[in-house]
Amino acid sequence: MQTQNDEPTELTLEEREEQLKVKEAALVEKETELEEKKAALRFRYKLYDKINISVKTMNIVIIALVVVLLLLIAYGVYDAHY
């Protein structure tokens, strides 16, 4: 009885190189994706970066807060002593 073996398909050098190139490209793509994910994870919300206000407005806020604070202290002292 004669057995029929499938002949192994031999790849030519060009074909192998092409396969390797495809694999390499997939690997690079995966690595890029991983880097992007890592970068996204590393990104942290910076507290002041989104503040869109002028220094002048901030000056007014600070002056207003100082006035409020002084009024509160004055009222506290007045309330406690008179």
């Binding site: 919300y45 910076k46 503040i51 002028s54 220094v55 100082v66 506290g76 002292v77």
Partner: protein
């Protein structure tokens, strides 16, 4: 000529207004102190000054720990509750062996004080390291992680305190004299009795100064706080740095809890309540920027002392306790506003 003079005057005016705005909090403290001295001239006594420093000391040690986390552009809302838990455990161990209602009746001989100190540090460090893990590894926002651990620590404190043999939530008190003397004992320096706790604060500040300025961890901390991505690209191990800073903060909280228990001499479930706000506001007043990467140890020391001086003055003036909360809140908002203004000026 006239133009040059006008320009100089304008420049000076701008410089003065910059100075006034940047140091607004210091001026307010000055005004408060003047008002206190006018109403109560006895305020300017050495005893009061030492009292302010004594009260600022434990909070200062906590602020030194918390400051590193703010430099990392984070925060710590669990500080007060971590302190409460560590202080409760410490207090239960150091109760006098002659006290009938002590937490551990099986302790019949005074425990060496190093044991409760190490336990306090271990508890605080474990919770703080957990916070660090959440921030560094899981990339959660510090606000959320520390809020969670704050509630966990508070829950454990309540269970622990209520688990007394007496079966009540009674405050843990009647401590071993050696323990209370650790904080309340004094050194006589040229006729002035200075409590030990003030020295501990200065020693802790010195150690933190060395860590921040002379070690790789300190330098990496500023790099990560300033720009995390740039630090990572430059080869800084961000995870290791964040974990390191959180562990150091935990050690500071543990020491602070041990000292605070000895200072107040009675620990209950409310111990440590709002301490995180005092520590964070002291840091902000002392120039630690919430945007990260900015701050120094002497600034924290000044911030803590200023905040305590304001608290003490308001208390001394008999200002309504609820109003004191409002004033403290406005002070924090003002400190952050000044910080934001400095950031905008640099931008």
């Amino acid at each position: 000529m006239e133009k040059a003079i006008a320009g100089k005057v304008k420049f000076d005016k701008r410089k003065i207004s910059e100075f006034l705005l940047n140091y607004a909090l210091y001026f307010i403290l000055g005004i408060i102190l003047i008002v206190v001295v006018i109403i109560e001239p006895k305020f300017l006594s050495l005893t009061n000054l030492i009292n302010i420093l004594k009260q600022a000391s434990t909070k200062g040690i906590l602020a030194l720990g918390c400051a590193g986390l703010i430099v990392l552009a984070g925060t710590d809302l669990s500080l007060g509750r971590i302190l409460g838990l560590s202080a409760a455990v410490t207090a239960s161990i150091v109760q006098s062996v002659t006290y009938a209602s002590r937490y551990y009746p099986q302790i019949t001989k005074p425990v060496p004080l190093i044991i409760p100190l190490l336990i306090s540090i271990a508890i605080a460090t474990a919770i703080s390291a957990f916070n660090g893990f959440g921030v560094a590894k899981l990339h959660l926002h510090a606000f959320i992680v520390t809020l969670g651990t704050s509630l966990i620590a508070y829950g454990i404190t309540c269970i622990y305190v209520e688990n007394q043999a007496m079966g009540s939530a009674m405050a843990l008190s009647t401590f071993d004299m050696r323990f209370t003397n650790i904080v309340n004992g004094t050194v006589n320096l040229m006729g002035v009795r200075i409590p030990y706790v003030i020295f501990y604060f200065f020693i802790a500040s010195f150690v933190m100064y060395i860590i921040w300025n002379k070690t790789t961890l300190g330098k990496n901390m500023f790099a990560v706080g300033g720009n995390e991505e740039a630090a990572a690209v430059s080869g800084v191990n961000v995870t290791k740095t964040i974990m390191g800073v959180y562990i150091i903060a935990g050690i500071m909280y543990g020491i602070g809890a041990f000292l605070e228990a000895a200072r107040v001499q009675s620990v209950s479930t409310s111990t440590g309540f709002n301490y995180e706000l005092d520590a964070i506001s002291a840091c902000v007043i002392g120039g630690i920027s919430f945007s990260g990467g900015v701050g120094n140890v002497p600034g924290i020391m000044v911030g803590v002392i200023i905040l305590q001086a304001i608290n003490y003055s308001l208390y001394y003036l008999d200002v309504n306790a609820y109003l004191q909360f409002i004033i403290k809140g406005v002070i924090i908002i003002l400190a952050v506003s000044i910080d934001v203004r400095k950031y905008l000026n640099k931008k």
